[in-house]
């Protein structure tokens, strides 16, 4: 195969563009999207397909004493009733899976670890029969002492969520495993830069504060769904996954098959937000198909989705030392991430979340300890922002608390500390494309930031503004590969395993392909993933696809371009150097009427089609002891500014306006970039003001969309400003899918503080907490404690 373009991580410069700027649609399949025709996995049926339903644990920690499935098996229409013991008893399959540790059972084996864990699964001819059967299953539990909080889980005599150390297995290259057997610590990450004690010794001021965020859920409107056919030795599974190749490797392991015999097909997703990254419904659906000898569909209810995967609750303590001039010179952060009953990707997330607490600041002395902690709660995994939302909540709140204590302008304090080119971040990487100052200045100017913030009062309502600024890495090392074929009519197929989940991936890839080949976007089709046919992509997450797959696709199209130029050179008897691609034709430079269409070139070449592949592979890694090295191929950068109105009588916070600034490097699809940026505001606003999973003895109390609020139209600011910063010289694409999210929570929290004097350190900023804080302030004032300063509500 010719035209293989392989290279080091580079800039856009090595992939020169064609001459025509193609028209840019908002979304390639827009028509399907407004006519109800998008083929989500939930629409799929197969002949003879069974419907699965799952009986879930009602105890947070318990030994399974007895399971009686006899009556359930008698229900007409029921084909298979499956337990964890049934799986363990078979020698040809494995009972556990997980992207790092193989700690999660396909179905609970002898023990349950959270309320909502799958215990018994039924596959029946329809949902009515499956539901009837579930009602007849009897499970007897002997409850064990559970652990829910960090303090409970880390106590010396704590009950262990996993008494046996979880089995490790093949995983991503960047994951560092430092687990602590005999404890509930699932994994730890450490970073040591400079000399932390020396840093504090040199500091004129040292502040220590603790911040928390609760677990939240992704709430994609499409819940997890898989349709598996494992009747034969091979497995074919259609599933809602952001990482089809991880599903493939995990199923290959569970079923003892070569990867080539597991085919994972992914359709357009109804939202992902990180919740569909790692195997979830897939092993169980495939297992049911294997046991029943029929294709099986498992589609989670909303209630099940809530406990399928969550965002880590976190507690971060930051000890920050500054010189008298405001320069931050030391930071010690202690981060705990509640990873729930199963590790999922927690062991990796604590790394990025931990590093994240260094902030967009050049700090010479940094000490970070980050831990994933097992508890008897639903598993936590990847989530849009990947630990950085929690980290930014901590450091962007603390910097304002420090400014307030010292009587400084928080904008100026940030300006003294934001990274510039030549400085190093927490992992010791030298910045060469730093834009934090521009981003912060942009949002400050747009929102009309001034200091001091004098709250504007209108009746019972007060208004003020707040700022934030964040740094975020992207998974490194990573790899994306693509294959393109040009057909005999000059149309182009782009094959990738990147997942379309609403971010407009297919459209972005089509735009980049059309641009490189100077052809119409309308003549480009971009595939969805099918691991039997589409080439490898590591994962559709981490805001990496437009950058990484964009590079791979552009390189592959470069291979096609070379072939077209060579074919045209022969046909026209003009040197390649004197030819160019333009509007679907290869033309002689300076004589545009002398040209030959791609369709003619492909037909005449007699190979049926032109083929080429492209790759983009990044390198990096961190020292396991110091956390120094390369954590990200490049750094995502964003700032946010919020204007809020707080009702002093109710404590209710309304976000009136939000300015988002994000470093995009180069915007590929302007409409999609805006949508992603606006979506981040909606997402972060929910996290800031109301989203929280509430548990009582491990039982989720608000696992439905009546009790768990997500942002609706009425919560949205009247104004959202989107500022995508481009860098035309480097012209390097930076992903923005999640980059704009982490600034939202602290920007809103800081604005609430400036409006009311109430500082909330435990998200979300509910009306109740604000009101309690206001009353505490009043009480302090009434007591004549004029020096008490603004209160802290807990």
């Amino acid at each position: 195969m010719s035209g293989v373009a392989k290279g080091l991580p580079g800039t856009w410069a090595d992939t020169h563009r064609g001459t025509a700027q193609p028209e840019q649609p908002g979304m390639m399949d827009a028509r399907d999207r407004v006519t109800g025709k998008v083929d989500y996995v939930i629409n799929m049926t197969l002949p003879g397909m069974l419907h699965a339903m799952v009986l879930r644990s009602t105890a947070p920690a318990a030994r399974i004493v007895r399971i009686d499935t006899e009556k359930a098996r008698q229900v007409p229409g029921v084909v298979t009733v499956l337990t964890g013991r049934d799986i363990v008893s078979r020698t040809d399959v494995r009972s556990h899976f997980g992207p790092v540790f193989r700690d999660q059972p396909v179905l609970a084996v002898d023990r349950v670890r959270f309320v909502g864990e799958a215990v018994v699964a039924v596959a029946a001819v329809d949902r009515d029969a499956a539901r009837a059967a579930l009602d007849l299953v009897e499970v007897e539990y002997e409850e064990l002492p559970p652990v829910f909080t960090f303090d409970e889980a880390l106590a010396e005599d704590a009950a262990l969520v996993h008494p046996e150390p979880p089995r490790a297995g093949a995983t991503f290259a960047d994951i560092i495993v430092h687990s602590q057997a005999g404890s509930n610590v699932c994994n730890t990450f450490k970073l040591r830069k400079g000399d932390i004690e020396e840093g504090f010794a040199q500091s004129d001021y040292v502040f220590e504060d603790t911040f928390t965020c609760p677990a939240v859920q992704h709430v994609p409107l499409e819940t997890h769904c898989s349709v598996a056919d494992a009747r034969a030795n091979d497995i074919v599974i259609h599933t809602t996954s952001q990482i089809p190749f991880m599903v493939r490797s995990q199923l290959a392991e569970v079923f003892n098959l070569p990867a080539s015999r597991v085919r994972v097909v992914v359709h357009t997703l109804g939202g992902g937000f990180g919740g569909k990254c790692y195997p979830n419904t897939e092993p169980l659906t495939a297992m049911l198909s294997r046991f029943s000898g029929r294709p099986v569909k498992l589609h989670l209810s909303r209630e099940e989705e809530f406990t399928a995967i969550t965002r880590h609750a976190m507690r971060i303590t930051l000890k920050t030392g500054l010189r008298a001039d405001g320069k931050v010179i030391a930071r010690k952060s202690t981060c705990h991430f509640n990873t729930g009953a199963y590790a999922d990707i927690g062991p990796r997330l604590i790394k990025m979340g931990g590093i994240g607490t260094g902030g967009p600041t050049s700090i010479p002395h940094v000490w970070i300890d980050s831990a994933a902690v097992y508890t008897n709660l639903p598993p936590a995994g990847a989530y849009r922002g990947y630990g950085i939302s929690q980290a930014a909540w901590a450091y962007e709140t603390q910097i304002e608390m420090i400014a307030q204590r010292l009587g400084w302008d928080p904008y100026e304090l940030r300006k003294k500390n934001l990274l510039v080119n030549g400085e190093t971040n927490a992992t010791g990487e030298v910045m060469d494309d730093a834009h934090w100052h521009e981003l912060l200045d942009q949002v400050a100017a747009k929102i009309g930031w001034s200091w001091p913030q004098v709250p504007q009062r209108n009746g019972s309502k007060v208004r003020a503004k707040g700022l934030s600024c964040i740094i975020k890495g992207t998974v490194t090392p990573s790899a994306s590969t693509s294959m393109v074929k040009m057909n005999e009519d000059g149309s182009l197929h782009v094959m990738t395993s990147s997942v379309e989940m609403g971010q407009g991936l297919q459209t972005s890839m089509a735009i980049l392909a059309a641009e490189r080949l100077a052809m119409s976007v309308a003549n480009v089709i971009v595939s969805t993933p099918d691991t039997a046919f589409t080439p490898y992509d590591q994962q559709t997450s981490s805001s990496r696809s437009t950058h990484s797959m964009g590079m791979a696709v552009t390189r592959a199209c470069g291979g096609i371009a070379d072939q077209l130029l060579n074919l045209a050179s022969e046909a026209l008897e003009i040197a390649v150097d004197d030819l160019e691609l333009s509007d679907g034709k290869v033309r002689a430079k300076g004589a545009p009427d002398k040209g030959i269409g791609y369709d003619v070139l492909v037909k005449n070449q007699k190979g049926g089609n032109l083929l080429a592949t492209g790759e983009y592979i990044t390198g990096g890694g961190l020292d396991p002891e110091t956390g120094q090295g390369i954590a990200a191929v490049h750094w995502h950068q964003a700032a946010g500014a919020a204007e809020v109105e707080v009702d002093l009588e109710t404590g209710k916070v309304n976000v009136l306006a939000y300015e988002a600034a994000v470093y995009a490097g180069r915007v590929v699809n302007p409409v999609q970039a805006e949508l992603q940026a606006e979506g981040n505001v909606a997402f972060g606003l929910g996290h800031a003001l109301f989203e929280e999973m509430v548990y009582d003895n491990g039982q989720l109390q608000n696992g439905n969309l009546g009790d768990y609020m997500i942002a609706s139209f009425e919560d949205m600011p009247e104004h959202i400003g989107v500022n995508c910063l481009e860098e035309p010289v480097l012209n390097e694409i930076h992903g923005i899918g999640e980059t704009g999210l982490p600034p939202v929570m602290p920007a809103i929290g800081n604005a609430v503080f400036h409006a009311t004097g109430v500082r909330i350190t435990d998200a979300p900023i509910t009306a109740e907490k604000v009101l309690r804080g206001l009353r505490a302030l009043e009480a302090a004032r009434a007591a004549g404690a004029s020096s008490a300063g603004p209160g802290t509500a807990r």
């Binding site: 999207r33 006519t35 109800g36 025709k37 998008v38 949902r127 499409e222 209630e303 407009g504 949508l675």
Partner: protein, 177 residues
């Protein structure tokens, strides 16, 4: 509430199911469902109308919104037998029979008022009724009217732009006419 006049139209099929006559996207049809089946699952499983989607199952998200006798309802909260003798319109019934998109659908495309699009059908149905009921709605009124439809991707700004633009276009059309 079920329209009692039409109850007599429901007949038993003999296998524990009910035959339920209804107008569906402009054609007379007979839905077959068990008494406890929702309109949502009946439209999907039996009629293949996959534009109607479950998001929450409890009438909170609006993803399964359909028009029932001209009013938007959450089809997850309607039992199939309740629609006997009534008229149902889903997203599949918005475009003209020849496939020409409605002006509302076109406005959503023009503004790219979607990301993952799972919620789009529900928004279109609710917005269609809004446009009929409140042709002069302000942006604030549009926001309020559509607040029962959730979009987790947060495409609200573009949805608002699309609906406001649609109302504007229809007003301009009326003036011109």
């Amino acid at each position: 509430m079920t329209d009692m006049r039409n109850q007599g139209d429901v007949t038993a099929t003999g296998d524990g199911r009910l035959a339920i006559p209804a107008m569906l996207n402009g054609r007379q049809t007979t839905l077959v469902a068990r008494p406890w089946h929702t309109l949502l699952e009946t439209l999907r499983d039996q009629e293949g109308l996959y534009g109607v989607r479950e998001g929450c199952g409890v009438g909170m998200c609006g993803a399964c919104t359909v028009m029932l006798d001209g009013e938007p309802v959450s089809s997850c909260l309607v039992l199939a037998p309740q629609v006997a003798g009534r008229e149902i319109r889903t997203v599949e019934g918005l475009a003209a029979p020849d496939g020409t998109l409605s002006d509302l659908q076109q406005a959503f495309i023009d503004h790219t008022a979607f990301q993952c699009s799972y919620c789009t059908s529900g928004f279109l149905i609710t917005a269609e009724r809004l446009a009929e009921e409140h042709p002069d709605a302000s942006r604030d009124e549009i926001r309020h009217y559509l607040a029962g439809n959730l979009c987790r991707c947060g495409s609200y700004v573009k949805i608002l732009d699309a609906v406001a633009d649609l109302l504007e276009r229809r007003r301009a059309g009326r003036t011109a006419g």
